[in-house]
Symmetry: C7
Subunit: 291 residues, 7 copies
Amino acid sequence: MKKEGFFETIYAQVYGYVTDADMWVNIGMVLLKIAAIILISRIVLSVVQAAVNRIFQHRKGSKIQMDQRRVDTMRVLVNNIVRYTLYFLAILMILQLLGIDLKPVLVSAGVLGLAVGFGAQSLVRDIITGFFIIFEDQFAVGDVVTINNMTGTVQEIGLRITRVRSWTGEVHIFPNGTITQVTNFSLQNTLSVVDVSVAYEENLNQVEQVLREVLQLAQTELQDIVGEPQILGVQALGPSEVVLRVTAECKPNTHHGVNRNLRAMIRTEFTKRGIQIPYPKIVAMPGKGQA
Amino acid sequence: MKKEGFFETIYAQVYGYVTDADMWVNIGMVLLKIAAIILISRIVLSVVQAAVNRIFQHRKGSKIQMDQRRVDTMRVLVNNIVRYTLYFLAILMILQLLGIDLKPVLVSAGVLGLAVGFGAQSLVRDIITGFFIIFEDQFAVGDVVTINNMTGTVQEIGLRITRVRSWTGEVHIFPNGTITQVTNFSLQNTLSVVDVSVAYEENLNQVEQVLREVLQLAQTELQDIVGEPQILGVQALGPSEVVLRVTAECKPNTHHGVNRNLRAMIRTEFTKRGIQIPYPKIVAMPGKGQA
Amino acid sequence: MKKEGFFETIYAQVYGYVTDADMWVNIGMVLLKIAAIILISRIVLSVVQAAVNRIFQHRKGSKIQMDQRRVDTMRVLVNNIVRYTLYFLAILMILQLLGIDLKPVLVSAGVLGLAVGFGAQSLVRDIITGFFIIFEDQFAVGDVVTINNMTGTVQEIGLRITRVRSWTGEVHIFPNGTITQVTNFSLQNTLSVVDVSVAYEENLNQVEQVLREVLQLAQTELQDIVGEPQILGVQALGPSEVVLRVTAECKPNTHHGVNRNLRAMIRTEFTKRGIQIPYPKIVAMPGKGQA
Amino acid sequence: MKKEGFFETIYAQVYGYVTDADMWVNIGMVLLKIAAIILISRIVLSVVQAAVNRIFQHRKGSKIQMDQRRVDTMRVLVNNIVRYTLYFLAILMILQLLGIDLKPVLVSAGVLGLAVGFGAQSLVRDIITGFFIIFEDQFAVGDVVTINNMTGTVQEIGLRITRVRSWTGEVHIFPNGTITQVTNFSLQNTLSVVDVSVAYEENLNQVEQVLREVLQLAQTELQDIVGEPQILGVQALGPSEVVLRVTAECKPNTHHGVNRNLRAMIRTEFTKRGIQIPYPKIVAMPGKGQA
Amino acid sequence: MKKEGFFETIYAQVYGYVTDADMWVNIGMVLLKIAAIILISRIVLSVVQAAVNRIFQHRKGSKIQMDQRRVDTMRVLVNNIVRYTLYFLAILMILQLLGIDLKPVLVSAGVLGLAVGFGAQSLVRDIITGFFIIFEDQFAVGDVVTINNMTGTVQEIGLRITRVRSWTGEVHIFPNGTITQVTNFSLQNTLSVVDVSVAYEENLNQVEQVLREVLQLAQTELQDIVGEPQILGVQALGPSEVVLRVTAECKPNTHHGVNRNLRAMIRTEFTKRGIQIPYPKIVAMPGKGQA
Amino acid sequence: MKKEGFFETIYAQVYGYVTDADMWVNIGMVLLKIAAIILISRIVLSVVQAAVNRIFQHRKGSKIQMDQRRVDTMRVLVNNIVRYTLYFLAILMILQLLGIDLKPVLVSAGVLGLAVGFGAQSLVRDIITGFFIIFEDQFAVGDVVTINNMTGTVQEIGLRITRVRSWTGEVHIFPNGTITQVTNFSLQNTLSVVDVSVAYEENLNQVEQVLREVLQLAQTELQDIVGEPQILGVQALGPSEVVLRVTAECKPNTHHGVNRNLRAMIRTEFTKRGIQIPYPKIVAMPGKGQA
Amino acid sequence: MKKEGFFETIYAQVYGYVTDADMWVNIGMVLLKIAAIILISRIVLSVVQAAVNRIFQHRKGSKIQMDQRRVDTMRVLVNNIVRYTLYFLAILMILQLLGIDLKPVLVSAGVLGLAVGFGAQSLVRDIITGFFIIFEDQFAVGDVVTINNMTGTVQEIGLRITRVRSWTGEVHIFPNGTITQVTNFSLQNTLSVVDVSVAYEENLNQVEQVLREVLQLAQTELQDIVGEPQILGVQALGPSEVVLRVTAECKPNTHHGVNRNLRAMIRTEFTKRGIQIPYPKIVAMPGKGQA
C-alpha cells in the first residue's frame, strides 16, 4: 500500500472490484443457484400436487367413504398448504444465498412448527389410525359395531372420523384416534343367550324336557337360528329361583330378535304346562311386637 | 513491517483502513441488506395482514358463527401478534448483520417459545378440532347433539368453543378440543322405543292384539310417526312382569314426545280392556317365630 | 524468519502488535458493540416495562377482577423477571464478544429453562384459558355457573383462577386451565320441570284437568314464570305410579323456586280433589310355610 | 493489479478460471461424490428391500397370523416408504454438494418429522408390544383370554392388532399397545368354584356329608374334573343362609361347564334329601298403627 | 524450502515458535480469560448465595409456614447445588479455552439434564402452584377447606406441600401441584340446610306454621345464625313423605352445629304438636297363593 | 498467471496436483482414519457382545426367571441390533471422512430415532421397573401378591412382564411398568378377621364368653393360628344385629382357611348354645287402607 | 512449481513434512491433550466415587431405611455406571482430538439417551419424591398412614419405594412417585366418633341424659380418651330412627378401640334402661287384591 491520493486509491480499488472476475462469477453462481431453486421448487410442486390429486382420485373407488364435495375441498386445501410451504422454503433459501443469516427466522419457525405439531398430534393419530382401520378390515360400512360403548351400524369411515348410526337413529361420530376398542357383530355368527328362571319347587328334569321341545320348535320356526340350540345347564341358584341358560347360534347380529322369540315361546309353553312363575319368596317369621 | 515511527505506523494503517474499498463495500452491503430486511418485513407484514383480514371477512358468511365484535377484536389481536413478531425478527437479523452474536437471545427465545408452545397446545388442538367439526359437518347450529354426556341444541360453533343450549335452558360451553365423541340426533329419523310391562297372568297374544290396535291408532293420530310402528316382542322376563317392546320410527328428535303419547295411549287402552297393572309380587311364606 | 537475537524478535513482534491498527480497530469495535448491547438492553427494558405497566393499568377497568394490591405485586414481579432476564442476556452477549465461549452456560441454561418450562406449562395454560374465558364471554361475575360439577355464583375471574361462591356459602377456586366444561344458568330462561306421580287407579284425563287448572293459577301467581306452563305427558310408567311431567319456562336461574312452588300447589290441589298418593304397592301372595 | 483495458482484465480472469485445475478437480470431485451417493442409495435400497421382503416372507410360517393379501399390501407399502425416503435423502445430499444451503429444508423436514413421529408413537408402541406378546408367549391363537375386561378366544395376533372372538360371537379388536393386562385361561387347569347356600337351620355336618357324596359322584361322572373336588368350608354367614364353598380342579377353561353340572347335581341331591332352600327370612314384629 | 540439515531445520522452526509473539500473546489471552472466568464465577456465586439467603430469611416473616430447621437444610442444599453447578461450568469453560472439544460432555450433560428435568417437572409444578396459592389468597392457615375431597383445617402451607388436619384428627398432606380444586368454607357465611320430612297426610300450612315458630325461636337462641332463617318450600315429593327445606345463614363454617340444633328443635316441636313421623308406607294387596 | 497454451496450463496444474504431497498425505490420513474406525468398531462390537452374552448367562442363576429358549432368542436379537447399529455408524463416519455432508441423513435418523424412542418408552420403563422389583425384593416367585387388583401366586418375574397365577387357575400377565402398587401376602403373618352378628336381644357378656371358649379351642385345633386369638369388641350396631369382631394372627396367607374354620366353629357353638340367628327384623305397623 | 523429476518433488515435499515443526508441535499438543483428558477423567472418577461412597455411608444413620446388602449393591451399581460413562466420554474426546468427526455417534447417543431418559423419568420422580417425603417429615417408620387408599403402619421408606404393613398383615409397596396423597394418623390426637340410633318414640332429653352418664363413665375407664367426650347432637333424622352423634378425643390412632368400647357401653346401658332398638319400621296399608 503506497501513499497515493485518497480518491485514486478508492477509484483503483472500486475499479479492481468491478473488473474482478471472482465477483462476477460469484454473482453468476448465485443467480444460477436461485434459478435452480425456483426450478426445483416448481418440479417438486408439480410432482406433489399430482400425487395429491391421484391420492384423492384413487380414494373415490376405495373403502374410504367420503363426500365428493369434501374430497374436493380437502384436495384444494392440501394443494394450497404444499404450495405456500414450498414458496416459503424457496424464499428462505434464496435469502440465504444472498448472504442474509436466517437463524432467527429458522428458530422462530421451528418453535412455531413444534407448537403446532404438538397441538396437531391428535390429528396425525386420527389419520394413521383411520388408515389402519381400513387396512386391517376392522369394520366396513354396514357392519354393526360397538365403539367406545356406543353400538350402531357403520355409516362412513373417513380420513379422520367414523360415523356410526345407532338403531334408534342418532348418529355417533368418533375421531379415529379415539377408537381404541372395537367390537364387530357382523363378522361371525352370534349366539342367542336366554336365561330362564324357574321356581326351586319345579322338577329340573321335567323343565329341561319342556325346554328341549321348545328349542326344537324354535329351530324349525326361526330362520335366523343356525345349528341346534342347546340347554347349557344351571347358570345360577338365585334366592328364589333356579336359572337355566339356553343358547342358540344364529346369523350375525340377529340374536336380539331370536332372544325375543325364544323368550316368548318359552314363556307361553311354561304357562301352558303349568310351570310356576318364580316370584320372589320370603319367609316371614312372627316376632314380638315393640311397644 | 519495518521500524517506523509509532504514530506514522498507526496513521498509515488507519489511512489504509479508511481508503480500503473492502470496508466501504462491506458497509454498503450491510446497509443494503438492512434495507432489504426492512423491505421484506413490510411486504410480509402487508401480505399476512391482508390474508388475516380476508380470513376474518370470509368467515362472516360461513358456517362458523361468531359475534362481529369478537371477530374484530380477534383480527386486531392477530394483526398485532404478527406485527410485533416480525419487528422482533427484523431487529434480530439486523443486529446479526452488525456482527453481534445473538446465540444467547436465540436460546432464550427458543426455550420461552417452547414453554409457551407446550402450554398453548390445547389452544392449537381446539382450533384444529373446531376446523374439522365444521369441515366434516359433524353438527350445525340448530342440531340437537350430545357432547360429552351433555345434550342440547347447538347455539354457536366458534373458533375455539362450541355452545350448546340444553332443553332446560342452561348453556353448556365446550372447548372444541375436548369434543371427543358427538352424538347427533338431527341427522336421521329417530326411533321411539316404549317398554310395556304386563303381568305374567295376562294372555300374551291378547295383549299384543291390543297393542297392535293402539299402534295403528297412534300412526294415524301422531304426525311425527313415520312408517308403521312395530311390536318387537318380549324384551325381558322380569321378577313380576313380562316386558314387551314397541317401536315407532319418527321424525328426527321427536321421539321424546312420541314416547309420552304412546305411553299414555297404551295405559289408557290397557285400563279400558282390564289388562292388569304388574305390581311387584312377592310370595310370603309363614315361618316359625323367634323368641 | 531470519536468525536474530531472541529478545529483538520478541520486541519487534510485540511492537508490531501494539502498532497494529487491526487490533485497535477490533478493540474499538468490541467496545462499540458492548455499548450498543447495553443501550439496546435499556431501551428494550423501558419499552417492556412500559408495556407491562400499561397492561396492568388497562386491566383495572376491564372484565378481569383483581385486587389492586395483587395487581401491584404482580407488576413488580413481572418487571423484576424482565429486568434480570435482560441483564443476564446482556452479560452473556458481552462475554461472548470478549471471546469467551459460552456453550456450556447456554446448554445448562437451555436445559434448566426447558425443565422449568415443562413444569410451568400448566401455568401458561391457565393464563391462556383465562384470557379466552373472558374474550369469549363464557361467563361474567355474577353469573350462576356449573364448573367441573360445582355450582355457584361467579365471584371473581382472575388471571389464573376463577372463584365461584356456592349457594351454601363455600367458595370454590378453580385454576382456569382445569375449566374444561362450563354450564351457564344465567344466559337464557331456564325451564322448571316437575314430575308428578299418581296412582294407576286414577283417571288420567281428570288428573290432567286438575293439573291444567293448577298451572293456570301458577302462571298468574308466580312472577318468575314466563309464558304458559305445559303438561308434557306421561314421562314414565313406574312400578306403582304413573309419572306426569309438567314444565314452565321461567326467568334465568329461578327454576328451583318455581319447582318448589309448583310442587306445593299441585300437592295441595291433589289432596283437595282426593287424588290418591301413589304409595308403593305390592301383591303379597301366601306361600306354603317352611318347617 | 495494473491498469489494463477493462475487457482484457475480464478476459484474462475468465481465462484463468477456465484453465484453473482446482475448479476442474473440484467439479470432478463433486461429480464423483454424486455418483457415490447414487450408488450407495441404490445399494442401501436393495439391501433394505431384500430385508423387508425376507421379514414378510419369514412371517408367513411364524406365530403372527396375517392374511396373505394384507402382508403383500404391507410389503409394497414399506418398500415404497423406504424408496421415496432414500430418494429424498439422496436429492438433499446432492443439492448440498452443489453448494445450496439446505438448513430451511432440514428444519422444516425435522419439525414435520417430529410432529408425525409424535402422532405415530402409538403405532410404534402397538408394534413393539405386539412383538413382545408373541416373543413372551403371552397367548397364542386359540387361547381363551381376558384382555381389558373382554373375554374370548384369540383369533389372530397381528403386527398392530389382536382379534378375540367372544363366546357369543362378536369379535373384539384391540390395538396391541392398549393390551396392558392379559388373563390367560388356557395355560393352566382352572378351578370350578360353586357356592352353596343352606338355611341356618340345617345341620352343617349332615350337609357336608351330602356334598361329599355329590362331589364323589361328580368326580367319576364329569371327565373335565382333574383330581379330587373339595369342600373348602363356610365361606360366609349371610343374613338368612350359610354359604358353603365347593371347588374342583378341572381342565383348562372347562370350569363354566363343570360349575353348571355341579350346581345341578347338588340342587337335585338337596331336594332329594330334603335340605331346605334358604329363602330370605324376615322377622315381622307388629307395631302400633298410625292414624 | 531448501535442502538443509534435518536438525537445523527442526531447530530453526522450534526457535521460530518459541520466539513467535503470537503464541505468547495467545497464551496470555487464555490465561487472562481463565482468570476472568474464575473471577466471574466467584462473583455470580456470591450474588446468588446472597439472594438465596435473603429469600429464605425473607420467608420467615411471610405467609409460608416452614419449620426453621427445614429452612436451614433447604438453604444449605440450594447453596451447594448452585456452588457445584458453577464449578462444573467454570471447569468446562476453562477446558474449552485450552482447546479441548467438549461436545461429547455437553451432549451427555444435556441429555442427563433433560431426563432429570422431565422427572423433576412435578417438583417445579408443586413450587409454582404453591407460590400462587399464597399469592392469590386461596386459603390461609386456619381456614377450613376441602382439597381433592378431603376436608379439614389448614395447618401448614409449605414450598411443596400443604398440610390439612381433618376434624377427626388425621393429617392430610397434599403436594401443591395436585391441588386442582379448592373449596374454602371460611371466607363467607355458610348456609345451614335442613330437610324435614312429614307424612302426606299432614296439613302443609299447619306444618309450615310450626316450622316458622321453631325458626323464630332458633334465631334468638342460636348465636351462630345470622339474619332470618327461611322455609324454602317443598323440596321433593318422596314415596311416603313430603320433604320441606329450611335454611338459615350462619357464621362461616358453623352450619354443622346449627344443622344439628335445628333438627333437634324441629323434631321436639313436631312430637309435641303430634305431627306424624313419615315411616315408609306400603300398600299390601292380597294375591292368589302359589301351590 | 502468464498466457501459456491452454493445455500446457492444464497439464502443469494436474501435474502439480499429482505431485502434491499434501494430497497424498491427506489420502493417507483418511485411509488411516477409516482403518481406525473399522478397528474400533470391531473392538466395541466384541466388547459389547461379550457383555451381552455375560449378562444373559449371568441371569440364568439369578432371581429373574426366564425360559432358556427365550433367553437365547433375546441374546441373538440384542447382538444383531448392536451389530447393525455399529455398522451403520461406521459407514456414516467413513462417508463423512470422504467429504460427504451427512446432515440430511443425521436429521432423518435423529427424527426417526426420537419417534421410535417415544414409542418405546413404555418398553424402557418396563425393564427399569422390572429391575427394581427384583432389586428391592418386592416379591419373589411363589409369593402370593395382589397387583393392580388381581391376586395370585407369582409364577415368573421376567425382563418385561410378570406372570401371576390366580388361585382359580388363570394366569394374569402384567408388563412390569404397569405394576404401580403391590400387596404382598407372603412376607408377614396375616390376620384372620371374622365378624359375628348376634341379635340385639342376646346378652353381650354371655356371647363373648362363648366366643372366648370357641377361640381357645380354635387356637389348639388350628395349626395355622399363631398366638392368641382376640375378641376386638363391638364393630358395628346394625339395623337388626350387633356385630362382634374376632381376630386371630395366623401364618402368612393362611387366613382364608382359618376364617372358614372359625366361622364354622362359631356357628356350630352358637346353635348348640341357642344363641339366636339375627334375621332381619322389621316393625310392621297397620295403616289405613287405600280405596 | 518448476518442472522437476516426479520423485524428487515427492521426496522434497515428504522431507518438508517430516521436518515441519508445526506437525511435531501439533502431535505434541494432541498427545498432551489426551494425557490431560485421561488425567481429568481419573480425577473426576475418584471424586465422584468418593462422593457416592460417602452418600451411601451417610445414609446408614439417616431416616432412610435400607437393607445393608441392598445399599452395597446399589453403590457398586452406581460406581460402575459412573465409571463406564466416563470411559465412554474420554474415548469419544480422544477420538475427536485425532480428527475423527463423531457427529453420527453423538446423534445416536443423544437419541438413545433421550429415549432411556424418557423411560426413566418415573424413576427420577420416585427418587425426588422420596427425598421430599423424608425431608418434609410427611411420615416416619412406625406411623400409621393412608396412602392411595391403603392404610397401614410404615415399615420402610426407601430410595424408590415405601413399604406399609396393613393391620391384617399384608405388605403394601408403593413407588414414591405414586404417593400423591398421604393421610397420617400418628401426628395428632384422633377423634372417636360414634353414631347412636334411637327410635323416634324415645324422649331425646332422657336419651341424652343416659348418654352423658355413659360418656362420664367411659372417660374414667378408657385410658385412651383425652379430655371430655361430647354429645354433638342430632346428626340425622332417618326413616325409622333419630341418629345422635357422640365424640371423644383420644390418643393418636386409638379411635378404633375407643369406638368399639363406647358402642358396647352405650348398647349395654340402653338395654338396661329399656331404650328401644330402632328396628326398621314400615306402615303396611291393606289394598284391594288383584285377581
